[in-house]
């Protein structure tokens, strides 16, 4: 039986929206199917790969495993909101310069996890970073360049200050 649709209020990448949604959809469905934001990916749907990671109220969450209803009244931040006013985020710049990614499928999730971590702890040790990124699988890179890029942003933020994209 179809559940009645519900109205939620959510800010996505800084823009507030009111949306009538089916109650059983995930946050990932909301972003992809309702808002056309396809940056967050689906690779496992079982909360075990991190390809779908977005930020909800400053916390990195796996959007495949969160109901859209749960973000009612919250702020959601996705990879599409990372570059502002045609300027790349420092993490994006570092990923490019370190050639951190290969196929790119896990990259949006990695960016959002890394952003959530650095926002909370701007100076992580490499060990903390590796632990924090454990939930973000990557089959291509062997992780090394991702870690180097993120550590570089943490240790040398001046290298990546706002730059025209």
């Amino acid at each position: 039986m179809e559940l009645a649709k519900k109205l939620i209020k959510v800010a996505v990448n800084g823009e507030s929206r009111e949306l009538w949604i089916k109650q059983n959809i995930t946050l990932l469905d909301l972003l992809r199917d309702y808002l056309g934001l396809t940056g967050a990916k689906l690779a496992c749907i079982s909360n075990s790969c991190g390809a779908c990671t977005v930020i909800v109220d400053d916390m990195a969450v796996k959007s495949c495993s969160v109901l859209a209803m749960q973000v009612d009244g919250k702020e959601v931040f996705t990879v599409e909101g990372l570059a502002k006013d045609n300027k790349l985020h420092p993490l994006q710049q570092a990923f490019i310069e370190h050639v951190a990614f290969q196929c790119g499928f896990c990259t949006p999730g990695k960016l959002m996890s890394a952003k959530a971590l650095l926002d909370e702890n701007p100076n992580p040790t490499e060990e903390e970073l590796r632990r924090d990124m454990e939930g973000n699988l990557c089959r291509c890179t062997g992780y090394k360049k991702y870690i180097e890029a993120i550590m570089d942003v943490a240790q040398h933020p001046e290298k990546y200050s706002a730059k025209e994209g």
Partner: protein, 788 residues
């Protein structure tokens, strides 16, 4: 070393912006107007007759637009191998019987995914289970259940290789005792070799199935236009030619009316090379409904229904002189193929040929057999046979060295081939960086101070591997176009699939180097079958050596055209001119010159509207028309080999049996690193993937059912697990490679696995002969050793 401006630099990838902003569109991200969503109903039986399928209830469900079964696709066959000897045998949808759990039995297209899933639940299937067989050796016994009772191929069916020009007609046969592939080749006389030997050793290894586990699940979007008869598809793939050939062959749509659009591809590793049932099904459903259809597999389906890597039991007997000279080798392989052949016939052959460029073994016999079992099919995975054989051979090399009191490094160096050697199949080693790979990492890792001296629970191990550089396969060529633009920049058109390994960026570098441009001056159109020339893609590790090289050849062609017009304009000889920064200048007077845009205008105005447009082609193994014999292994099959040596240092916890890889050193001969950052990335990738293979990856089955079909139960390496990785370039430029370059994406994985296996042995002295090296196996081995 020659001084290059762009080649040999670790510059950022061409696809950077798309990939870090979320703009990159993968197949799953494609949305078309009125698009339907499809789902596949899959067999829950390992082996059963299909007595009846009732789809009437599913068809009645509101929102359902089409339901298809094997009746609709009856007689359509596909497979990775479809040669006269090995005609393919996989149906698009199971017809009168199912052969593995996960095989497709019906498919639904509906207005949304939920409706499609609901409809699957309404399909009634009456099965009559028949005895199944899961072990290849059981499968080959008299009286075992026969997985293929019917004649292969159906009478009158032409195999792919006939379509591609091979004169022989497909052999028709009924598989006997489930044997679906064999290889049998030899040179010298291995029995004579064993007679001469002063020491003989025999070991048997078991290498299990693993998952390619590309992060992007397989999927397809297909859109058929009933008015024009054109089919547009978006796929997660490794080369569009093969996919559209097979969609054309199965559905009867002319190949020129099938367009594979550019998509971003989320990793492949061999696991997306062949055409899949879901790709044909999505296309079929789109033609049937006249609407676009999206069909994306779940992770569970990727594990259970696409393909795993190839499982092998490997028996190696080796005869050696006391001084360490190898005089004979006899290899026997048994492969658990799965319900259809997959790429096993190729793998059985590659197990020999990938290793043949390494050691000089005068007397050799190589036998292999693949048996059908009631499991999913198996396919090439990053190295295709090399990693299985390397594990078996390289561990045995260490055990022989130990028994004979030889140094494992010296023992290997003594038996290596040499640059310039002609192999028994007539391939020539025009480049051979392997000795250097070994020497450089032995030094960098401080091997001599560490081997056997690291103390309890710690060890260091070495292994070496080789990889080919393209071989004959559809469409047997790669083409490329480089066109001059109005502003003096160029546009490169290339077909090779970019799934992360970086060929588009590196080819832009080749073109920029050749024309004296910056990489930013090379625009790129890639990965679209309608916009780009025919392309062999990166099949059989020919990405750099064949496909990227075609881009360089096109740039060389364009350069000659530019110089010819410039010579006319400057009234100079072509030989006296050079190109740099979108301009041609006179070598002796660099101030004098003409800009590229002026040259283009001049060419158009003074000639018959002549645009400046270079074209380039490249073929794997120029001297041969077709592939060598897979079953006999005769004939040339590649034009160059790449090499890797790997050293791993590990710690093994005696309490738990758990291994931690501390450091991996890789010495690699890829001819020349075109993009150093991308090359380093490829080696790091293989170091970490190889660590997963060595220590924990295995697809597990119970009665034909995959029991760990998700990322919780099937672990792949995570950020926290990764060791120190040191990569060292030990390239020997190949005269036929673009700027000397060869492949770098596949070779190292095998050497890494072998080196970890050998390091664990060095640490524990426990001989384990099956992958992965689960803590349990090591723990038991240590326990037994303590007892004895």
């Amino acid at each position: 070393m020659a001084d290059y401006r762009v080649v040999g630099k670790g510059i950022p990838r061409k696809d950077s912006i798309e990939k870090i902003t979320g703009q990159a569109k993968y197949t799953f991200d494609i949305v078309l107007p009125e698009m339907l969503h499809a789902k596949i109903l899959r067999s829950l039986h390992a082996h059963a007759k299909i007595v009846n399928i009732d789809t009437s209830e599913a068809e009645k469900l509101p929102g359902v637009k089409a339901v298809i079964t094997g009746k609709d696709t009856w007689g359509m066959r596909f497979g990775f191998v479809d040669t006269p000897r090995y005609p393919c045998e996989q149906p698009v949808i199971a017809e009168d019987k199912v052969r593995f759990i996960g095989e497709s039995v019906a498919a639904v297209a509906a207005v949304d995914e939920n409706t499609a899933n609901e409809a699957l639940d309404l399909i009634e299937i009456e099965y009559e289970p028949i005895p199944a067989v899961f072990d290849p050796e059981e499968a080959m016994k008299e009286g075992a259940p026969q997985i293929h009772g019917e004649q292969i191929p159906a009478p009158g069916r032409k195999c792919a290789w006939q379509d591609w020009g091979v004169a022989r007609v497909a052999r028709s046969y009924n598989p006997v005792n489930n044997i679906g592939a064999t290889v049998n080749l030899s040179y010298g006389d291995s029995e004579k070799g064993f007679a001469e030997a002063e020491y003989i050793r025999e070991d048997t290894w078991v290498v299990p199935r693993t998952s390619h586990a590309a992060m992007e699940p397989h999927g397809a979007v297909a859109s058929y236009n009933p008015l024009t008869g054109y089919l547009d598809v978006w796929l997660s793939h490794m080369g569009y030619e093969l996919k559209r050939y097979w969609i054309s062959k199965t559905l009867g749509i002319p190949i020129s009316k099938i367009r594979v659009h550019k998509t971003f591809i989320g990793g492949a590793f061999g696991g997306k090379a062949q055409v899949f049932d879901h790709e044909i099904i999505a296309s079929f459903l789109s033609r049937k409904t006249g609407k676009p259809v999206k069909l994306i597999l779940t992770r569970d389906e990727v594990f259970t229904s696409t393909n795993n890597s190839i499982a092998l039991k490997i028996n190696v007997k080796k005869g050696v002189k006391k001084d360490g000279t190898i005089v004979g080798q006899h290899v026997k392989l048994i492969s658990d193929m799965g319900a259809y052949r997959g790429s096993v016939p190729v793998c059985l052959f590659l197990c020999h040929s990938m290793r043949d460029a390494i050691y000089n073994i005068p007397n050799l016999t190589h036998e292999g057999v693949g048996a059908y079992t009631n499991k999913s099919t198996t396919m090439a995975k990053r190295g295709h046979g090399s990693q299985q054989m390397t594990t078996a051979i390289e561990s045995q090399m260490d055990w022989i060295a130990e028994d004979l009191g030889l140094d494992p490094v010296e023992f290997r160096l003594k038996n290596l081939r040499q640059k310039g050697d002609v192999l028994p199949n007539r391939d020539t080693l025009n480049s051979y960086g392997l000795p250097d790979c070994i020497k450089k990492i032995v030094e960098a890792s401080n091997w001599k101070e560490k081997r056997g001296k690291l103390g309890p629970g710690r060890g260091i191990g070495l292994a070496v591997s080789a990889m080919f550089n393209g071989s004959g396969y559809w469409p047997f060529t790669a083409g490329s176009i480089v066109r001059m633009n109005h502003d003096g920049t160029v546009t490169l058109y290339m077909g090779q699939a970019e799934f992360g390994q970086g060929p588009t960026t590196t080819t832009c570098q080749l073109v920029a180097e050749e024309l004296g441009l910056n990489v930013e001056d090379v625009n790129l159109v890639d990965g679209d079958s309608e916009l780009c020339p025919l392309d062999y893609s990166n099949f059989l590790s020919g990405g750099m050596f064949v496909s990227c090289k075609a881009g360089l050849v096109a740039a060389q062609d364009l350069r000659q055209q530019i110089l010819k017009v410039a010579a006319e304009m400057l009234e100079e000889d072509v030989e006296d001119l050079e190109t740099m920064n979108r301009r041609v200048y006179i070598k002796t007077d660099p101030e004098e010159g003409v800009a590229f845009d002026e040259i283009l205008r001049y060419s158009i105005q003074k000639h018959a509207g002549d645009l400046l447009m270079g074209k380039g082609f490249c073929k794997p193994v120029p001297e041969i028309e077709f592939y060598p014999s897979l079953s006999k292994g005769s004939g040339r099959w590649t034009d160059a080999y790449s090499f890797t040596a790997s050293i791993a240092e590990v710690s093994v916890d005696a309490e738990t049996g758990r291994t931690k890889v501390d450091h991996i050193w890789i010495g690699d001969d890829c001819g020349r690193e075109i993009n150093t950052a991308i090359c380093e990335g490829q080696l790091q990738s293989q170091a970490v993937m190889g660590m997963g293979d060595a220590l924990f990856e295995e697809v597990m089955f119970s009665e034909g059912r995959t029991i760990n079909a998700n990322f919780v139960d099937y672990e792949i390496p995570r950020a926290f697990d990764i060791p120190e990785i040191t990569t060292i370039d030990a390239s020997d430029p190949d005269p036929n490679g673009p700027f000397g370059a060869k492949e770098i994406g596949e070779c190292a994985r095998a050497a890494v696995i072998g080196s970890i296996v050998n390091a664990v042995y060095d640490a524990t002295k426990v001989k384990i002969t099956s992958l992965p090296l689960h803590p349990e196996k090591i723990f038991r081995g240590l326990e037994e050793k303590a007892k004895s």
